[in-house]
């Protein structure tokens, strides 16, 4: 569904990614793990067009999306839930979710039943249901994170990029976020997941890539990576 080949990207004169190749097959959850500064967030941003790749190719469902504008890539069905919960603070929870479905209103994506999907999102995230008329800015950090995830789902995306969904969340909410990810996976949602809790990420993923200094160091089925002593030592150190 999503394929990167030999992707190079960076900021200013600094190149962060030195040729990344990876594949997210349809209906699978793929996780990208690695230490800080390895280039996980940069990879996400290069995929969704927030930064322009210098070299290499990004293919989404057979369409070359390399270097296209973010909003065009989004219309092709790529939903990015960015690091640090960027919700529309002065709009209600309901409106935030409906904005997630924007490409379906404009005809860029198949419309389907938006109202039903809204209810489905609320069903996934019961906390949002309780607060549907509240302004997003007044939600707690955990609720904002859930809103960002739910908003990404509202597009009916082909692929979802989740960048650090558990960051800054209380342990009790971290568990909930991972439960929701597993549930989405069971429904066949295609996902690329970046997580600081690498062990937990590998638990919900089908396949994993380990990023080291802007290159893929190891990759393999999540089960196998989890039991790889080198990966364990370097990235799975502590539990959360």
């Amino acid at each position: 569904m999503l394929t990167l080949s030999n992707l190079h990207a960076g900021y200013g004169k600094v190149e962060v990614l030195h040729g990344i190749s990876l594949e997210v097959p349809k209906g699978q959850v793929v996780t990208l793990i690695g230490s800080n500064g390895a280039g996980k967030t940069t990879t996400m941003r290069a995929i969704s067009g927030m930064i322009a790749p210098r070299e290499g190719k990004v293919m989404l469902g057979g369409v070359d999306i390399t270097g296209r504008d973010s909003h065009r890539i989004a219309r092709l069905g790529l939903a990015h839930s960015p690091e640090g919960r960027r919700v529309f603070a002065t709009m209600s929870v309901n409106d935030n979710l409906l904005l997630g479905a924007f490409p379906r209103y404009t005809g860029a994506r198949a419309r389907g039943d938006i109202a039903a999907d809204l209810e489905r999102a609320m069903d996934y995230f019961p906390r949002l249901k309780e607060r549907r008329t509240q302004l997003a800015g007044t939600l707690s950090g955990g609720e904002q994170q859930m809103l960002a995830m739910a908003r990404a789902m509202m597009m009916n995306p082909e692929v979802v990029l989740l960048d650090e969904p558990s960051m800054g969340l209380a342990p009790i909410l971290v568990d909930e976020v991972f439960r929701i990810i597993s549930r989405l996976r069971a429904e066949g949602v295609t996902m690329l997941l970046v997580e600081q809790f690498a062990a937990a990420a590998l638990n919900v993923a089908d396949y994993g890539y380990v990023l080291e200094n802007g290159r893929i160091a190891v990759h393999g089925p999540a089960e196998k990576l989890k039991n790889d002593p080198a990966v364990q030592a370097a990235y799975l150190g502590g539990s959360h």
Binding site: N36, E83, M167, G168, P171, Q196, G237, H240
Partner: protein, 642 residues
């Protein structure tokens, strides 16, 4: 490394000195005078617009005040040149302060409106106060005398050039000192500036007053240069033109200000003369095409990236031959050029050239130099007033936002030399507690004592200087500044140098700057970021940004350090390093309050843990006791083992 700026300076000075001898025509000498005067004004405007990021629409008015100070003193008292110039600076700086003190309490569009109103009022006052200003009649000045001789066009040109160079040196030195860093920091993150002891309001006013002083100098020179001043000159159009000069030339550079001044003076004249315009536009096109070709050949630019300036300049050149009469097209061409620059060269012409040539800013060089300085005895200050006892005593703190009680009578006592954990679900009031302790919020009720003294109602900057430093949950770095400069802002308190020390690079300033650079570098080393000292903070990965915040906070020599989720977004190995750093900080006698969701971190470093839920304290005690508290498990940890 050092030879390039020196060479450039020598060439520049020679060009300035030689110009009136090569071009003897008084018209062109006068044009050069005007450019130099605008450049002085723009140096000042750039401090406000480029560095502090405030938009002033009042600089035309300040320029006018300078001109009229000189004009009135000349007309009423026949005051000599030196007196009128000095008075121009002082009076205008005074007006600048008068405007800045109330105006800089507001920001953004409001500030623009206030300064716009100021400019309009000044213009009207000049017009109406006929007794003082001669009203609409204007004031005629004569050629000034200096050292007993009347200055001719060329003589006055040299006076202006001398002041231009002096202004350039002084402004450049201010901007590269702790003052300039304060200006830049308050743009990058006002809340972080305040929490580093750099009062945002105070430094905004400083920047504005310095800027007004330069506008005054430029104004008084302008009065002599034009020999006639009238109220209509200082209008809104001039203000816009000045801002345009900064944007086109390139903000945050002195060369940009010079270039901007040249553009706004020459361009309108250029568009008057078709012959000259053809000549210049062809030259420009040749330069741009050749430059682009060289860059593409060297692989520093791509064909696509250089296409726009090439097409633009070639079109302009072709246009100049197609058109037979310029007058009809003048404004359109001017607008088109402006549009192209603002659209495609967002960092201005100088910024674009720098970027294409791959020039690094001075930040990277400074960082390299800091590495060579002798390291200070200890990077992290040791809290001298060691011992036991309470460092923080917050009692019954109530923080209410509308109907919401973010903190509901929370009592928090922190013992000296300990690491005190603060945990709780998202939205339980932990960050609010931090904000109350650092003066960002003033509590609705309750008492907070730090070292036995109440800090309720004090400004963030004062609390910071009293010894409370912090990091932020949502990283608040000064993005456009290097890692080293970020830490240097934290060391702002270590400077005693005044404006004079900075302008003249007196020994005190040089010593302080050296010491601060060495200390800042040592602090970066302490958190393991020394190899990234010259990198802009916004380009650092998230985890490194968090470490940089810690280094910057330590620069304050705090007795209490508040860390707000330092491990968020860090992977397991990085968290281990962080724990080591936290322990090392405590060994220096610094007390810490730690907000964190990673329970392994909290459990391994904290002496005492307080748990908040819905703004209320639900538990407090040793990590082990808190971890097994059923209420904490229910509200925060969840049922599974952690």
């Amino acid at each position: 490394m050092k030879s390039r700026p020196l060479l450039l300076a020598a060439v520049g000075l020679a060009a300035l000195a030689g110009f009136p001898f090569v071009v003897a025509n008084p018209y062109y000498i006068h044009l050069a005078q005007t450019i130099a005067i605008y450049a002085i004004l723009l140096f000042g405007l750039d401090i406000v617009v480029g560095y502090t990021g405030q938009v002033s629409l009042g600089h035309a008015g300040l320029f006018g005040i300078g001109a009229y100070t000189a004009g009135v003193l000349f007309m009423k008292f026949s005051a000599p040149l030196l007196v009128t110039l000095l008075a121009g600076v002082v009076v205008t700086a005074g007006f600048g302060a008068l405007l800045a003190l109330p105006a800089l309490r507001v920001t953004g569009p409001y500030l623009a409106m206030v300064t716009l109103a100021f400019g309009t009022i000044i213009q009207i006052l000049i017009n109406e106060m006929t007794d003082l200003t001669n009203g609409a009649m204007g004031i005629t000045l004569q050629r000034p005398r200096l050292l007993g001789a009347t200055l001719d066009e060329r003589g006055f040109y040299f006076v202006i050039c001398f002041l231009l160079v002096a202004a350039l040196v002084v402004v450049h030195r201010i901007l590269r000192s702790h003052l300039g860093r304060a200006f830049e920091a308050l743009r990058g993150s006002p809340v972080a500036s305040d929490c580093m002891g750099v009062s945002v309001y105070r430094y905004k006013v400083y920047a504005f007053v310095i800027s007004a002083g330069l506008a005054g100098l430029a104004g008084s020179l302008y009065a002599y240069s034009e020999k006639y001043i009238s109220p209509n000159t200082w209008n809104f159009e001039l203000t816009v033109l000045l801002l345009l000069a900064i944007i086109m030339g390139g903000r945050k550079t002195r060369s940009g200000a010079l270039l901007g001044a040249a553009i706004i003076v020459i361009l309108p004249k250029l568009l008057d003369d078709l012959e000259l315009f053809r000549y210049v536009s062809v030259t420009l096109a040749v330069v741009v095409v050749a430059g682009a070709a060289v860059l593409v050949a060297r692989g520093r630019s791509t064909v696509a990236r250089s296409a726009i300036p090439v097409i633009g300049s070639v079109t302009l050149a072709v246009l100049s031959f197609v058109l037979t009469s310029m007058t009809d097209w003048r404004l359109s061409i001017f607008g088109l050029i402006t549009l192209l620059v603002v659209y495609y060269l967002q960092d201005g012409i100088v910024g674009y050239v720098r970027q294409s040539l791959g020039w690094r800013g001075h930040g990277a060089d400074d960082a390299a130099q800091a590495a060579t300085l002798a390291a200070p005895a200890s990077a992290v200050s040791t809290s001298t007033a060691a011992g036991t006892g309470e460092l923080v005593a917050a009692d019954q703190v109530l923080m209410q936002f509308g109907g919401l009680k973010a903190l509901n009578e929370v009592t928090l006592h922190v013992a000296r030399g300990t690491i005190h954990g603060l945990i709780g679900p998202n939205g339980s009031g932990k960050s609010t507690m931090m904000n109350v302790l650092t003066g960002i919020y003033v509590p609705t009720a309750g008492a907070i004592a730090f070292k036995g003294q109440s800090i309720v109602g004090r400004t963030s900057a004062r609390i910071a200087l009293a010894g409370i430093a912090r990091t932020f949950q949502n990283v608040q770095l000064f993005g456009e500044m290097t890692a080293l400069q970020n830490v240097l802002v934290g060391l702002h308190h270590s400077y005693r140098s005044n404006l004079l020390d900075v302008a003249l690079h007196l020994p005190r300033f040089r010593r302080e700057e050296r010491e601060a650079a060495a200390r800042a570098y040592a602090l970066l080393k302490f958190v393991g970021l020394e190899s990234l000292a010259g990198e802009e903070a916004r380009n650092l990965p998230y985890g490194k940004q968090r470490l940089l915040e810690i280094a910057r906070a330590l620069a304050l020599n705090p007795e209490l350090l508040l860390l707000d989720e330092p491990a968020a977004g860090l992977t397991a190995p990085d968290i281990k390093e962080l724990v080591v750093i936290i322990r090392k900080i405590r060994e220096h006698g610094i007390t810490l309050i730690l907000i964190e969701h990673h329970m392994d971190v909290v459990m391994s470093v904290c002496d005492v843990v307080t748990v908040l839920d819905f703004g209320q304290k639900i538990a407090e005690g040793t990590p082990a006791a808190v971890q097994s508290d059923p209420q904490v498990i229910k509200a925060y940890l969840g049922s599974e083992a952690h």
